[in-house]
């Protein structure tokens, strides 16, 4: 595990120094900080809903961009710069390399979410006068959503070029956010033929369900009522961990056969 953590540390160190990621983080922090200024636009939904939804929206968007940008180039850049050759010529197994890269990415996401979370809590405390526990739960959910996305991107990066990966991962994220609602809609509609329904059902099972993680956002899910919030949280995080594990195993198997 020494080698895995050494690689994770190096990956984290490099990622937090990437200008593009830092720019995204700084812009997100700035927007979160000024989010209470949008209070006058709250209308009938109330300041709390607007500020929390706005903050979550910014954090989710920043987390998504950070996960995709960071992970698409992670392995291809190592190959292009030949750094990987100096690593794999040491007693490092390929699976350790993939794991190290993923842990480094998750560490970076954790750091970014921590920064955005702190600023979000401060901004919401200043605007709303209290700490809303929903924020912490939402942050945890979005962190796992981004980690799952990072695993998807890393999986694709073991066999496609960064440009293709941007589109593939972006597409999977988009579909993973929309498919479950789409499936619900077509299941309610008796006119939809099995020819349309079955592929959507299949895709909903295969692709990661990113929509599950959005439950905390009151604007995206205005009527969402959770009977047992903790159980939902644990279940969703469990889903993310299992899906991440499957993606990592697939990534390792592909990367093990890959010629560089």
């Amino acid at each position: 595990m020494n080698a895995t953590f050494a690689i994770a540390g190096a990956t984290f160190g490099e990622a937090v120094r990437k200008r593009i990621l830092m720019v995204i983080l700084l812009v997100a922090l700035l927007i979160i900080l000024i989010s209470p200024a949008f209070e006058p636009f709250a209308a009938e939904r109330g300041a709390r809903t607007l500020i929390i939804s706005f903050g979550f929206g910014v954090i989710q968007l920043a987390g998504t961009f950070i996960a995709i940008i960071m992970c698409t180039s992670m392995i291809p850049t190592e190959i292009e710069r030949r750094t990987i050759y100096t690593i794999l010529s040491k007693p490092v197994q390929r699976y350790q390399f993939v794991l190290g890269k993923f842990f480094g990415a998750v560490g970076t996401l954790g750091f970014m979410y921590l920064m955005m979370g702190i600023v979000f809590l401060i901004a919401s405390r200043m605007a709303l006068g209290d700490f809303d526990p929903k924020i912490i739960r939402g942050l945890i959910m979005f962190f796992f959503q981004s980690s799952l996305l990072a695993a998807v991107v890393l999986f694709f990066s073991t066999f496609v070029s960064p440009l293709v990966n941007y589109f593939l991962s972006g597409g999977v994220f988009l579909m993973g956010n929309l498919l479950s609602s789409f499936l619900e809609t077509i299941q309610r509609n008796p006119e939809v033929t099995p020819l349309t329904r079955v592929p959507v059902q299949l895709l909903t099972v295969i692709l990661p369900n990113f929509a599950n993680f959005n439950v905390q956002n009151p604007i995206i899910n205005p009527e969402q009522m959770l009977t047992d919030e903790t159980a939902y949280l644990v279940q969703t995080i469990g889903y993310a961990i299992v899906y991440i594990a499957l993606l990592l195993v697939a990534s390792m198997l592909i990367f093990n056969q890959r010629e560089m």
């Binding site: 020494n2 080698a3 953590f5 050494a6 690689i7 540390g9 190096a10 160190g13 490099e14 120094r17 710069r81 030949r82 750094t83 050759y85 100096t86 690593i87 794999l88 010529s89 040491k90 007693p91 490092v92 197994q93 010629e259 560089m260």
Partner: protein, 310 residues
């Protein structure tokens, strides 16, 4: 312990693209043996298959046919990687790290624990002359310093075999000499060095044996002095009469005489004294006697161009 550090048996690496009709053999039936304790030069023009062979030896890519062994074990066996090291051509190391941090990183990959890790890192920084720059980020390092840190990361595990790809490319003369000296020092410590390089003068100076690869096929293999045997001596003389030419020509050299000025390219086989005797006996005057040793560059060009013309 086997006396063979690297062995390939009919090693072939074939690439067949998704859309290309014709598969390409990057390396074809390569049979190679590198002995322990020697410096082996692995030469060839760009695209000859050198880096492909190295990647197979390191287990980064897999052979299509044939076998490759490193230190007696099948190539790519990660356990074997405790005993070998690799420096790629123009490598990039995480440049936000300092020299000390990057060596610590590579030491961790070997599972070297403290305090041994710090001790070894400090020793290596000292050995490659980077102690004073140890805490500077690598992005501030010159090309020569980067190459030295690259060599240092190669030595972190005290390897038995070092595989170096273009270790002196792009270096200024001083850094060049430094790295060359380090390579010789490593050989003196009993390590085996497998060097792929286009710096033929360096290879000629430091290597014991060389192999030349062209289009994936090995076209030359042998000890440097054997491969470079067959130089010639150029004798220039003045006031040489016409009748001296024929006996000189019979000695086997290339002879030209113009207005009494004689130029002889004589094979370096002990007949040069006879040429000089004939010239003097005929009343000629020796102007110069200049030995021309065949260089590795000559051999390389002849071999590769010969291959092209074939």
């Amino acid at each position: 312990m086997s006396e063979i550090a690297i062995k390939t048996v009919n090693l072939t690496k074939r690439y067949s693209g998704l859309w290309s009709k014709q598969p390409v053999d990057a390396v074809k039936n390569l049979n190679l043996e590198v002995h322990r304790g020697e410096i082996f030069g692995f030469l060839g023009p760009n695209g000859a298959g050198k880096t492909t062979t190295i990647k197979v030896l390191l287990g980064i890519i897999y052979p299509t046919e044939g076998e490759a062994y490193v230190l007696g074990q099948p190539a790519g066996d990660p356990k074997n990687h405790y005993k070998i090291s690799y420096l790629p051509e123009n490598p990039y190391f995480y440049d936000y790290m300092t020299g000390r941090e990057i060596l610590t990183f590579y030491a961790k990959l070997f599972g070297i624990a403290e305090p041994e890790r710090s001790k070894r890192v400090n020793e290596l920084l000292d050995r490659v002359g980077l102690s004073r720059a140890a805490d500077q980020p690598l992005r501030t390092y010159s090309k020569g310093m980067q190459q030295r840190i690259g060599l240092a990361q190669c030595l972190i595990n005290d390897p038995q075999l070092l595989i170096l790809d273009e270790p002196t490319a792009g270096l200024d003369p001083i850094a060049h000499i430094d790295i060359r000296d380090m390579i010789l020092e490593l050989r003196n410590q009993g390590k085996t060095l497998f060097i792929s390089s286009h710096q033929l003068s360096d290879v000629e100076r430091v290597c014991d044996r060389v192999a030349i690869l062209n289009r994936g096929v090995m076209v030359q293999l042998g000890r440097i002095e054997e491969l470079l045997a067959g130089g010639h001596v150029e004798v220039i003389a003045d006031k040489v009469p016409d009748n001296a030419v024929e006996p000189i020509r019979q000695l086997g050299g290339k002879v030209s005489l113009h207005d009494g000025r004689l130029i002889v390219e004589q094979p370096d086989n002990g007949t040069v004294d006879r040429v000089i005797d004939i010239v003097r006996a005929a009343g000629g005057h020796i102007i110069s006697v200049k030995p021309y040793r065949r260089t590795l560059e000559d051999l390389f060009v002849e071999t590769i161009q010969g291959g092209k013309n074939a």
